[in-house]
């Protein structure tokens, strides 16, 4: 194996490890998975595609200024966002560029607790929370 290829392989392996081997994030997803099963017997796993639709919206029912997660976080979750009201810079949502995302359970719950009513006009279900995180783990 030539050296650049070896290096690239190593970098990909490290990158994958950074996304996959994060026990705190895995535990958060596992908790939402258990909750989703309790909410709906037919639940059969989280979906990147559903998470993407939730992220991109647009949704009705929430704050008119924030019809989608993408309103502040931009349509590309790998890009930095900007708070629509205050102009505050927001770190990227995609785990691939911001590995600290979804590693603090209390923080994650706090943000869903505030942002779901802002965007959807109601709390998110556990299935939606898991879909959302799954989408961003895969971006």
């Amino acid at each position: 194996m030539n050296r650049p290829l070896l290096l690239a392989t190593a970098l990909i392996a490290v990158g994958m490890a950074a996304v996959a081997a994060e026990p705190a994030r895995d535990a958060i997803v596992a908790t939402y998975s258990r909750q989703a099963q309790n909410e709906n017997q037919a639940f059969n796993g989280f979906s990147t595609a559903r998470g993407e639709r939730l992220y991109l919206g647009p949704h009705a029912g929430g704050n008119a200024e924030t019809p989608a997660c993408a309103t502040c976080h931009t349509a590309d979750p790998r890009a930095p966002g900007r708070h629509v009201k205050t102009g505050r810079a927001i770190e990227p949502m995609a785990v691939s560029v911001n590995p600290r995302r979804f590693t603090d359970a209390a923080d994650v719950e706090k943000r869903f607790g505030r942002d779901c009513p802002n965007v959807l006009g109601r709390p998110c279900t556990a299935a939606e929370k898991g879909d959302f995180i799954t989408f961003l783990i895969n971006r």
Binding site: K85, G87, R114, P117
Partner: protein
């Protein structure tokens, strides 16, 4: 004795500097929970920018924080509330919760509405648009 004298001179110098032209330098936030929680949706404003009464009103009304729900767990709210009140500014109207509506703010920011409407500013509370070191408590870049 000498150490006291140095401290006194520094204190007097700081007070004179602040008095000369408003609040150009304020102590940076020295409470990690305040820096983190208050800094998520907007710059975390230093406690000296509002009097204690304003901070207490803000911290007792987080469920409707200028139109947003900014609620925190009770113990976190209490810890941030105590820090802000203990380090609050000594001037300002405690009935006013918006820093941008305190009288000193208007005196320091006499700009036309066209300036305020620049897209990079977006809102008067966006200190960082014009004061790049605002998060360290330095507002003298104008």
């Amino acid at each position: 004795m000498r150490r006291w004298l140095v401290a006194l001179i520094i204190t007097m110098g700081g007070a004179a500097g602040a008095a000369a032209s408003g609040l150009e330098r304020v102590p940076a936030i020295a409470h990690p929970a305040t820096a983190k929680e208050c800094g998520e949706c907007h710059m975390a404003f230093q406690p000296a920018l509002l009097p204690a009464g304003s901070w207490l009103r803000i911290m007792d009304g987080l469920a409707d924080h200028f139109g947003e729900d900014a609620s925190l767990l009770a113990d976190l709210t209490a810890s941030i509330r105590a820090y802000l009140a203990a380090n609050a500014g000594r001037s300002g109207d405690p009935k006013i919760t918006r820093i941008t509506e305190q009288s000193w703010f208007a005196k320091e920011h006499r700009f036309s509405s066209a300036v305020w409407q620049r897209p990079e500013i977006k809102t008067k509370s966006n200190c960082l648009a014009c004061h790049p070191r605002a998060e360290q408590g330095s507002y003298d870049d104008d």
